[in-house]
Symmetry: C2
Subunit: 338 residues, 2 copies
DNA sequence: GTGAAAGCGCTAACAT
DNA sequence: ATGTTAGCGCTTTCAC
């Protein structure tokens, strides 16, 4: 039943050489004869040798596992990021270990607490909304486990970060609304304290300022990131003494939630109230009217983060890089006045 | 910098007992004094001990890793299944290792080829469309790595399987169309050779047969699972000499693709052509008209598969179970005649 | 360029 | 109930 997995010892025996040589040949270490190396490689293939990562890990104190810590997986943006990560991790022979926080800071801390060198070689992390403290991150980094943040980053931790250009994306969105004649532009966003939402807010504010548009407190609503939150936020906006004539939503799900409110109230989207989202979730092309949005390079974010993490893992003292990927405004029907 | 991770040896030294006792206490083995056990547990907590899974794995030939092999992750159904799996895996202290096949049988084989006991303790697998042979599955199982299939299963492999009730779901969908007065019902489905598509086909055929409706070859189209395939299939259906007045799509993405074709051609969905999908992707509630569909218990499928896999891993000779979870028809606008 | 041997942290006989 | 010890498969000094 248990056909005894082949080990380097078996290869050594077959070839009448030492395990040390086999080990060196397999890893392409310089001080090994090219002939011997070929012999070993061929034999390994022939015998269907598979490295035992537990043994390797035990001695090198590594695991070939990288962890992904993120708020959710049933989500277009996040699942796309995952697929990007998976692509480069697989190419590099790394396994992905998935941790889902459900946006709970406590869960995030619990997860990080269980992580130790030897079990996880590095972490790709998108911070949970509620996160306020940083020490659980620095503790991980001090253990020698590199972290690369993506999307939602912890701003005062010195490590690599990969983000989309939230500021310019938001600016483009609001600028587009203004150019299309909307004058009273609201912003529905997530909970406060997240860098990417703040950047989008700044883009929104700058666009207003540059065109000398008023900033109304009433027109800026903080709540959750879900579709239902978008629905609720829109309800609230409709109750303002002075109603906005356009809404910039922090993401497509909220934009769609807002559209649902408007549709139910028979308010014409585009004509009466313009809407723009953020992400370019496939849903934004399916809903009608189709949703103008800012496309995020989600897959590329996944790829780049993972590549950066690989560098951190390979070169122990790789200098932290901050990558900001461009976004792109996708104009659709929800911002057409007629 | 490297503060030397604490090991059971350290705990043993502190407590003046042997490593064996510490090891036993930590794992709650029966033959250990309750007092000693508490002492060890407290000390472990105090010293912030974390088990070295490489060491454990090396001696037990295990890894605490379970693999998920599936066609895609950017997909509502699959990402929901993953979240279900993640939930129970996390609870059991297991890591998830993600492998994405992109529906390529070759990729699937490559992935399985790299898997060996000690690195992966068990596999959750949704077979790729193109899969035709089974030996790469049996090879894994013979190595002592249990597999639990979900959704798309390899029918002649004797191991646990978790599926939704494809047959009855499909039957309910078509029966609903018939009861709403549609008479010429087409079926657009995936590539041939997948059990779940066959079951949906059988449900479709039985519903037709029971009502003495004709089965027209022309009205049954096999292609891919994507939205674009749905669009193309619908185009083809519209070219039939005798056009169908309703379409049962194998999944929501294809149903939506079909709807897009109809909308472009200004054919009234529901009134002229009824559409029903399968999955209950959130998109089906967003598109207009909203899409009637058969809800799949995706998260539960993930949970149950993972629970079953845990049983296979824990009890070496757990008898294979086949779980079929109920589906539910969700009636919306796309099948209303007026 | 290659081999011998120690040892990574833990579990599992085998003793006691 | 607890201790002793071998050894899991590999890498890595240290010899030669």
């Amino acid at each position: 039943m248990k056909p005894h997995a082949v080990t380097i010892k078996d290869i050594a025996k077959e070839l009448n050489i030492s395990v040390a040589t086999v080990s060196r040949a397999l890893r392409d270490t310089y001080d090994v004869n090219q002939e011997t190396r070929q012999l070993v490689l061929n034999k390994a293939l022939e015998m269907n040798y598979k490295p035992n990562y537990n043994a390797i890990g035990l001695v090198t104190n590594s695991s070939h596992n990288i962890g992904i810590v993120l708020p959710a997986v049933v989500n277009y943006y996040f699942s796309t990021v995952i697929s990007g990560i998976q692509e480069v991790a697989y190419k590099n022979g790394y396994n992905i270990v998935l941790y889902v926080t459900n946006d709970s800071a406590e869960r995030e801390r619990d997860i990080l607490h269980d992580i130790s060198p030897g079990n996880i070689d590095g972490l790709l992390l998108c911070v949970s909304s509620e996160s306020d403290q940083d020490e659980h991150f620095t503790k991980i980094i001090n253990m020698g486990i590199p972290i690369v943040f993506f999307d939602r980053v912890a701003s005062n931790i010195d490590t690599s970060k990969v983000m989309q250009d939230d500021f310019n994306g938001a600016y483009a969105a609001v600028d587009h609304l203004i150019k299309n004649g909307y004058k009273k532009i609201a912003h529905i966003t997530g909970p406060p304290g997240l860098l990417f939402t703040e950047r989008r807010m700044e883009g929104y504010l700058l666009a207003l300022k540059e065109h000398n548009f008023p900033v109304k407190k009433e027109w800026i609503i903080h709540s959750g990131f879900t579709q239902n939150c978008g629905t609720a936020d829109m309800m609230q906006l409709l109750k303002c003494k002075e109603k906005p004539d356009a809404v910039f939503a922090v993401n497509d799900r909220k934009a769609i939630g807002a559209m649902l409110t408007l549709k139910k109230k028979n308010i014409k989207i585009g004509k009466q109230i313009g809407i723009v989202g953020f992400t370019n979730d496939p849903m934004s092309e399916i809903i009608s009217p189709t949703l103008t949005t800012v496309e995020e390079p989600a897959k590329e974010i996944g790829r780049r983060s993972c590549e950066l993490l690989m560098k951190h893992i390979f070169k122990k003292y790789f200098i932290a890089e901050e990558v900001i990927l461009p976004t792109k405004l996708i104009v659709r029907e929800s911002t057409q006045r007629l």
